[in-house]
């Protein structure tokens, strides 16, 4: 497959836009998964993954063909996602008073704590719980955990994607793993 992708990239560099379609369909799930696991929202994940592919296309000339395309593509995707996470600021604060009311703050606008019966079933679902716990990790641990256990990249590849030393990758994986252990031990 590596070779097929290499061939396609040569075609893209020559200006064959259609060749990019195969590259997208080959990598779309991986890239989408990275974005989704890190940002935690399907809509934004799609947006980010799309942006990542478009950036890869417009900067294809800068891609060094001796290296692995997937690493380069994942780097674009993780950088975009991390940027988005950093820029994300809360749009509203729960403590803020609701306009036109006296003493009512945003807390009163939230739904009651008890979930609806069908939601309860959903939230009990292990998958959702794990996903939430991964999202609760600080972004720098989240990225290594996602790349390591969901995309099953090697430590070396993660180091290349995130442009950090392998030693740092290890430390982050250890810390992330410990944090998750504490959260998931009772599951």
């Amino acid at each position: 497959m590596e070779n097929v992708i290499k061939q396609k990239i040569k075609q893209i560099k020559k200006g064959d836009q259609a060749a990019f379609e195969d590259v997208v369909s080959f990598y779309q799930n991986k890239v989408y998964q990275i974005c989704f696991r890190m940002i935690g929202n399907a809509h934004e994940a799609e947006d980010l993954a799309q942006e990542a592919f478009i950036r890869a296309y417009t900067n294809i000339d800068r891609f060094d063909e001796r290296r692995k395309f997937s690493t380069w593509l994942y780097r674009i995707a993780t950088n975009l996602t991390i940027d988005r996470i950093r820029k994300k600021k809360p749009d509203y604060f729960l403590d803020a008073e609701v306009k036109g009311t006296e003493g009512l703050n945003m807390y009163s606008q939230l739904a009651a704590d008890q979930a609806l019966p069908e939601e309860e079933v959903e939230s009990l679902e292990l998958q959702t719980y794990i996903h939430k716990e991964i999202l609760a990790l600080p972004p720098k641990y989240r990225s290594v955990i996602v790349l390591r256990f969901l995309d099953e990249l090697s430590l070396q590849e993660i180091a290349e994607v995130l442009e950090i030393p392998v030693g740092t990758v290890k430390t982050r994986i250890h810390r992330g793993r410990e944090t998750l252990r504490k959260k998931l031990r009772h599951v």
Partner: protein
């Protein structure tokens, strides 16, 4: 509980497939005797399998089509950029020539003011630089955009850019003028009046600079 830090580090190494044989033995040996660590190890392994068990997520069905429809059209400019990127040597050469000629021409046209290399005791009058009679200028003298009159003496080369050497006012000296002024200037006299000469002068100067640098080392 002192064992923890060290053993936990070993556990993580094990999970990264980083463990050496003696370390593995040590870990195994410890786990057999310590139930706390055993539980910890078990939890870690379970955590990983839990995380890994998350079902893989697929991109929405129309994802590829969406990406393709949002791609920018290939621009002509891209071809030029590509060409430049693929031929860095030509690009560098082109940039170098542009800068060099640009620099020389702008230096030629920009300063129309009279400038003299910094020697003391020179007099500047109406675009004329005068070396007064009782003055001996040490070192090379460069005059730009002005004429030069030497009444005294210059101990070095004289270069006049965009100007002339004026003959002395005193008429009685004129027969001797040639010899006299050669005598006053111990080095070479250069006059530079045209752009091409100016460029030649620049090149010569640069080369001299290069060679003197080479000699200096």
């Amino acid at each position: 509980m002192n064992c923890k830090q060290e053993v936990i580090a070993l556990m993580h190494k094990y999970l990264d497939d980083d463990l050496t044989q003696p370390e593995e033995k040590k870990l195994r040996f410890h786990l057999q005797s310590c139930s706390d660590c055993q539980a910890h190890f078990h939890e870690l392994k379970r955590t990983i399998s839990l995380v890994k068990s998350s079902s893989p997520i697929s991109a929405p069905g129309d994802f590829t089509a969406n990406v393709m429809s949002n791609l920018p059209q290939q621009k002509k400019r891209n071809h030029y950029m590509r060409w430049f990127r693929n031929h860095p040597f030509f690009t560098a050469a082109a940039v170098f020539f542009l800068m060099m000629f640009g620099g020389v021409f702008s230096a030629w046209t920009e300063d129309q003011q009279v400038t003299v290399s910094k020697q003391e005791n020179l007099v500047i009058q109406n675009q004329v630089v005068i070396v007064p009679e009782d003055v001996t200028v040490e070192g090379d003298l460069v005059v730009r955009n002005g004429d030069l009159r030497i009444d005294g003496a210059v101990n070095g080369d004289v270069t006049i850019i965009n100007g002339d050497i004026l003959e002395q006012d005193s008429v009685q000296d004129s027969p001797l003028e040639g010899e006299k002024y050669m005598a006053y200037v111990s080095g070479e006299v250069n006059e530079v009046n045209q752009v091409f000469e100016w460029m030649w002068y620049h090149t010569k100067k640069t080369l001299e600079g290069v060679f003197s640098l080479g000699n200096g080392e």
